[in-house]
Amino acid sequence: MGVVHGEEMVLNIGPQHPATHGVLRLQVRTDGEVVSKITPYMGYLHRCFEKHCENVTYEQVIPFTDRCDYLASMSMNFGYVVAMERLMDIKVNERVEYIRIIMAELQRIASHLLCTGVFGLDLGAFTPFLWALRDRERILDLFELTCGARLLYNYMWVGGLSHDLPVGFVESTFKFLDYFEPKIDELENILAHNKILVERSADIGVMPKDIAISYGVTGPNLRASGVKWDLRKDDPYSIYDRFEFDVPIGQGLKGTVGDCWDRFYVRILEIRESVKIVRQALASIPKDGDVHQSLPKKIRPPKGSVYARTETPRGDLGYYIESDGSPIPYRLKMRSPAFTALSVLDEIGGGWLLSDVLAILGSLDIVLGEIDR
């Protein structure tokens, strides 16, 4: 396009807006339709999570972690529990480990389904959103079967779980997986290879490797830029090293490596890998074992600190826990992946049209609860 500078217009996207995945305000400077600078303003959902954690006991922190990334609560719990068990040097038994992995991977599938559906919705495709939600409902039914909650579970406790798997869970999950695998192909066909969607997202918002690493972007966003980094393989926690699965990276099939289409497509591929992991875990889960076996009577970790990272659907979640020997945490910091993903929006969003900015925001898959905590 030729360079003609008119007057700059300052536009506010949000805080109430159907496309911003929560309450986020983006102040956008545009010249006509071309965007020159994006400034995110957040904090509308700030609930002082870290300050609260300094006033409640270690067990009571777990429901707080649920509410940070409310679309992937199991993964939030998992990260906290891994960090605490590393700090207190607790070993849980095999059954607990297998159940945790099954729940985390099912949660990953649910979260990625929602993200891909919402990405389509932002671009005007109404139907795949509803199909993705229909399948997500069945996963939420499985969770409800186990712990009674559909969205905020408080399921993984330090040293074990809150409930064991109910009777019939394994069969239900196998039935769900058999039903679900053709649906991923359906979703991919209607969404990923649709010509209009490809035109709207390929070559848009390209994030090169070095910018991704420098900005701390992790998870599917980083993998879409071509960096093969997955905490489940490169820094395995729990028993992830026993499962066989691939780590899909973006290859620029429809455009450049690291564009919106890649970020979106990597998530669809990851759904398939998670299905593989769940199948393997269900096949070899030990039949006996008490999930409450290693729950400590009172959580009093030794003095010290720990930093543990786990892989959530949005990236690397890090918990830095500093304890001073009392039952209440001294300081707990959550390093959330969506926080860093949002910080890269200004870098990759300049120079595109307004509709593209919303496509880029959708492809980064942010959840405001995690950013604001």
Binding site: H46, K51, K91, S214, G216, K228, K233, R373
Partner: protein
């Protein structure tokens, strides 16, 4: 490839993955060295699985794998920290403040920017990603800024801490080195009041711009009202 050679290569590979590349480099046989190095690279990329060490047998320890991983992790952490300290002492002699380097390295704030630049560019350390940066209010009037660094290339970590006093809480900003530090430092400033010198746009990020006080400090008192809305006080400890 005899069995002995295979065992030797496995041992070297395990040592190398734990951070001790000198053992691999010092081996005489060029063939063994090359095979060990290529195996290490493949394992780091995820193509191969790590060969088990023959030392600990799984029957003795009930949850063999998990204990091994944890031990190796601590070994890795220790030797990375030790390596960083060794190199730091060569280059910046007076900047380290603690004696035991098991978990972290304590630095002085003055030359932090130069140290950080060097940490990122030094080929053997190559910490190209700042995983987490946070602030914490340690007792006795000290605020600390803690950095968890990680290297994508070598897959090792280190934790650095910088302590400043409350009255003069100024630390050089590393925003230009790791771009992610931009928002992390803004958040630490917002919550704890540590000022980062050289930051391009240090303002509050999560709280409104005209909020008063630094909430995560231990002596924080909420303001009475905010634009006419009464700010509720915290409840007492939940036991």
């Amino acid at each position: 490839m005899t069995e002995n050679q295979q065992k030797l290569i496995d041992e070297l590979v395990n040592k190398g993955l734990d951070g001790d590349m000198d053992a691999v480099n010092a081996h005489q046989d060029r063939m063994v060295r090359a095979k060990a190095k290529s195996m290490i690279m493949k394992i780091q990329k995820g193509i191969l699985k790590r060969p088990p060490l023959k030392k600990i047998s799984p029957e003795e320890v009930p949850n063999g794998d998990i204990v091994q991983n944890q031990e190796k992790k601590e070994n890795k952490q220790e030797s990375t920290s030790a390596k960083v300290v060794r190199k730091l002492l060569e280059k910046f002699p007076n900047e380290i403040e603690n004696e035991e380097f098991d978990s972290h390295i304590q630095l002085k704030p003055d030359k932090w920017f130069e140290i950080a630049t060097w940490l990122k560019s030094e080929p053997e350390l190559f910490f190209d990603s700042l995983q987490c940066q946070m602030g914490i209010d340690v007792q006795d009037d000290i605020l600390e800024s803690r950095y968890n660094l990680h290297s994508m290339k070598h897959n090792h970590y280190v934790e650095l801490r910088i302590a400043v006093s409350r009255s003069n809480a100024k630390i050089p900003s590393v925003e230009k080195i790791w771009r992610v530090a931009d928002w992390f430092e803004r958040e630490t400033y917002d919550m704890l009041g540590i000022e980062y010198i050289g930051h391009s746009d240090l303002r509050r990020i999560l709280l409104p711009d005209d909020w008063e006080g630094w909430p995560l400090r231990k002596d924080y008192q909420e303001q009475e009202t905010y634009h006419g809305i009464i700010v509720p006080k915290m409840k007492e400890g939940w036991e």
